[in-house]
Amino acid sequence: MLSFLKYIFIATLRLGTPIALTSMGGCLSQRGGINNIGLDAQMTLGALMGVCGAYWFKSAWVGVLVGMLAGLIMGLIHGFVVNTCGAPMAVSSQAMILFSQGLTIIVLFAVFGNVGYSDQVASISSTPVLANIPLAGDTLSQLSPLVYLGLVILAVLNFLLYKTPMGLRMQSCGEHPRAADTAGINVTLYRYLGVMTSGALGGLGGAMLSIGYMNLFQDGMIAGRGFLAVGAISLGGYTLKGAYAAGLLFGFFDALQLYVQTTNLPVPSQFVQMIPYLASFLVIIFASGEHSGRRGRAPAALGQPYSKISGTR
């Protein structure tokens, strides 16, 4: 039983933190008013470029930075297309997803000469420093330092968004951009800040999967986790903490799936593989509806592009 709990605990944090980080970023972007549904693409490119960075610079940490940068650029493009050009969000997101799929293939081919997977690179999947802590040291040291970094980022962003003037300004851009503009707040700047942070966090989440959990990139390794992150935002009631917790919950389903695969239960493997998706889907179905407002509301101007000239459209 204890070994089961330990396994689930470690696997949940390993698999859940990427979703949680991405989801938290998406929530931040939504608070600023831009709906970033391209999280999946940002995770994919983060994972891919993270591996490339680790390969080029022989350092997993530089890889993480490269992955974040890739995500940030995707976030910037999304912000530009959606907020400045006023294109429909779903369209831009889908374009990014296709673009990332295509780019994955060409980058893998150009850098590693393979189709579908990369070489093995340096990874940061454990934290040996923590091994000396009594009792829990063995468990804690098996987690990537990025898991702890994620919690630190959550604390910092939570403080920035809810306790500082800057964060409150960002929230006003998502609630009523015209009012914020009238009060002298640079709506465009804050919105771009939000969506770019979201992109960088999505990139970090992706890089965590490729070099914080495994040590290579495989085509399709993100497996819809970016969309799980989108679902986690509303499940978490549009708060950073909530989004993070919901992301970890989805990671728990994923961990459960892995555990059931190691046991020899007489269930067809396809149904076991279905667990994370079906469970997340059911949770979302039961959590939405009339009572979802109790957990928190989406920002009022979410998804409405804003420009000084024509206001919200």
């Binding site: 050009c85 831009s92 889908q94 374009a95 295509g102 293939i105 497996a223 679902g231 396809q270």
Partner: protein
């Protein structure tokens, strides 16, 4: 000659123009990407199009490949027209695909009865798969993109499971046994080059969608709901019903695409089948912008590119998947289309201000 509406013509030309610009930019940028991999872009593109369109045989191949792409484009267009983004195409396609295989394998009927039955089964299954997301969206406000993606994965594993339950499942190739010969689509033209009946079916579907969207009241209301939900709502249009209709229509086309794939191309259900029609469908829908001729043309273009990849790979060593990069870029540039409008507006305003 009919009196042509000036502004409408202008708008149509602007749409076509921005599609062409997007196309051009996509090729330029992907050419630059090819340069990065030390190959010659001109050689790559020429082998792509020679292989896809260069001979009567290649032309027949391109036409055959066009049918499922066109249907995928119609599926996405049907959803877009009333403001629903059907990202669940992949799941609906697979459900239609496997149900077509079940009926085509198990039901002993003559061809002229069996083929319509296979279509019906595939369409019903795919419509069911597209019903859940839109129903949950209307009833419980579940994010439609989220539920579509979850159902894609659930569908994928469910379909894999069903295929393994086939009597005579072939583990080495990961597929069901072949369906009966009576379930295979007859050829439209047998000689000199084989052209599938699927081509005709996809063209009829295009005409059908056009008539539904532009010549019926229901289609008009669907488009109105897609253009502005609130305006349509205040005009008394049942917006939710229209979204439901659009999504189900989209699902029906996805199921049809799955049935055509089975009866025209594979002849059996295959595990983890992912021909990537959703991406192509989105590209077709975005380039086509609800104009039948443009939809047809862009579906044909992608079919040519898909058809030519083998020769491109043989001649230049560039991965066949590279076509995906061009598609991805194309969609990005089509998506940026409104940017041109925005820049034009800025330009005009700047001029006005300088005169004042």
């Amino acid at each position: 000659m009919k009196n042509i509406n000036g502004t409408r013509l202008k708008q149509g030309l602007a749409d076509t123009f921005s599609s062409l610009v997007a196309l051009l930019l996509a090729f330029v940028v992907s050419g630059l990407l090819i340069l990065l991999t030390d190959a010659n872009p001109l050689e790559v593109f020429s082998s792509l199009f020679v292989g896809g369109l260069g001979s009567p045989l290649a032309l027949a191949g391109a036409l055959n490949r066009m049918a499922p792409i066109l249907l995928a484009g119609l599926a996405i267009t049907a959803g877009n027209s009333c403001g629903v983004f059907n990202i669940g195409f992949d799941g609906q396609f697979l459900v239609g695909f496997v149900l077509a295989a079940v009926v085509g394998y198990a039901v002993p009927l003559p061809s002229f009865l069996l083929i319509p039955l296979v279509f019906l089964a595939a369409i019903a299954g795919a419509m069911l798969w597209s019903f859940f997301p839109i129903f949950l969206n209307i009833r419980r406000e579940v994010n439609i993109i989220f539920s579509c993606i979850m159902l894609n994965y659930v569908g994928k594993y469910l379909v894999n499971y069903l295929i393994q339950q086939f009597p005579g499942y072939i583990a080495s190739t990961g597929g069901s046994p072949r369906v009966q010969d009576t379930a295979m689509l007859p050829a439209l033209i047998e000689k000199p080059y084989k052209i599938n009946l699927a081509v005709l079916i996809s063209l009829v579907s295009l005409a059908l969608l056009y008539v539904i969207l532009f010549k019926t009241r229901s289609g008009y209301e669907m488009r109105a709901a897609g253009l502005s939900r609130s305006a349509a709502y205040s005009a008394g249009i049942p917006v939710e019903k229209k979204a439901m209709a659009g999504m189900l229509l989209s699902g029906a086309f996805a199921g049809m695409c799955g049935a055509l794939e089975l009866m025209g191309i594979t002849g059996r259900a295959i595990e983890d089948y992912a021909p990537g029609y959703m991406g192509l469908g989105i590209a077709v829908a975005m380039l086509g912008r609800e104009k039948p001729a443009m939809i047809l043309l862009s579906a044909f273009l992608f079919a040519v590119m898909k058809n030519g990849t083998t020769l491109m790979q043989m001649k230049t060593g560039i991965s066949a998947q590279f076509v995906l990069v061009i598609q991805g870029l194309l969609i990005i540039f089509v998506g940026i289309g409104p940017l041109f409008r925005y820049l034009m507006n800025r330009f005009h305003e700047g001029r006005k201000n300088s005169h004042a």
